[in-house]
Assembly symmetry: C2
Homo-oligomer: 218 residues x 2
């Protein structure tokens, strides 16, 4: 692929009106992908049919194929969108300068918001759902899921490492071990959320875990 097309003189970076050639799209890819993600999060891969996806996105099946590929590719793109959304919801918390306890509290609150959202009941964590289903037989999907786990572990470890440098944690604290506990807490509330354990109980689990991981401030 040397030239993008024939004309566009490689000038403006696709400003506002790309002036596409044929019949205009009747859908917005980002919105449609969001709808697909909603469905997949609710019902999982196997129980979500292309007809369901077609109805939810407002796109008919050929358009779905044209835009996203087959069902598996759409699932993968939905999952990547989920990860991007989750990252976006967390990035401020990881960037702001905060005491470790507060930072963790905000992370878990944001996680619970994600896990408990959904019109037809809480939907849990899509990474966990995918690990429990498609990741077993599909190596590509498995790789993404492992990335998801690893990303979270590393983010938590960075938090604890920073807190230790700031003297918020005892010298004996091991950031990696604490990060694994923090991830485990994420996983347990994600799973329980999906079984419709009420938010109050999940918050109690988080509080108990925090009291063990970081010194509570009285």
């Amino acid at each position: 692929m040397v030239q993008k097309r024939s004309k566009p003189p490689a000038a403006k970076p696709e400003a506002v009106a790309p002036k596409r050639r044929g019949r205009p799209r009747a859908y917005q890819p980002e919105i449609a992908l969001g709808k697909a993600l909603d469905l997949f999060r609710k019902d999982g891969f196997a129980a979500t049919s292309l007809d369901d996806l077609s109805a939810a996105t407002g796109m008919n099946r050929p358009s779905l194929y044209g835009a996203f590929g087959d069902k598996r590719e759409l699932y993968i793109k939905s999952y990547q969108r989920y990860r991007a959304d989750a990252r976006a919801a967390m990035v401020d918390i990881f960037r702001d300068q905060l005491p470790i306890r507060q930072r963790l509290e905000r992370i878990y609150a944001a996680a619970l918001d994600i896990y408990l959202s959904g019109e037809a009941g809480p939907r849990g964590c899509f990474t966990v759902m995918t690990a429990a289903s498609e990741a077993v037989a599909d190596p590509d999907i498995r790789k993404l899921v492992l990335e998801g786990f690893s990303e979270l572990d590393k983010a938590f470890a960075a938090c604890f490492r920073l807190a230790k440098e700031n003297g918020e944690l005892p010298e004996s604290a091991d950031p990696v071990v604490l990060a694994q506990l923090a991830s485990a807490t994420i996983h347990t509330i994600a799973i329980r959320a999906r079984a419709q354990v009420p938010r109050r109980e999940l918050e109690a689990i988080v509080k108990g875990a925090l009291d063990v991981m970081v010194p509570a401030k009285p």
Copy 2:
């Protein structure tokens, strides 16, 4: 249902040869249920067809229906069998008198044996899998899953309570909070196992969690 049948004088408790009336069964229900469980654990409810189940159990579909009911009932019976098996694998560990650290080590080792078993790769925890899929839309199944979570939480809490009584834990230790952490550790290794994280890494997670939950013995 007043009388069981017509003849059997309510004497012997079904010794060995019940002398059933019609054509003898070509299958053993317990073995068939085990095969069904194996399949469900591997592929989940939606991705397991009755043809698959028929092939795995050696029973044709009408026999499956006669013995276990429809697919959903078979899934529920498989899940209950899973719980019974898991309980049986753990009961000794909970009964024996052991230092808390050793007891937990044995529990996690047994759990990993369950989660990592499977000819076609590790299959994780069926309770977690079910929570992630069927428990959302099916209240009966959800109830079973919540029971499963609760049973584990309570068993762990009993362990920690006993350890505290024995002076193995500081007075400040909260058995319920520790139990939630212990369950969280179960959940995280169950999920990661399903994504084929190697046993060594899972054991490292367990060790880290144990070092936080109970004093390591040097």
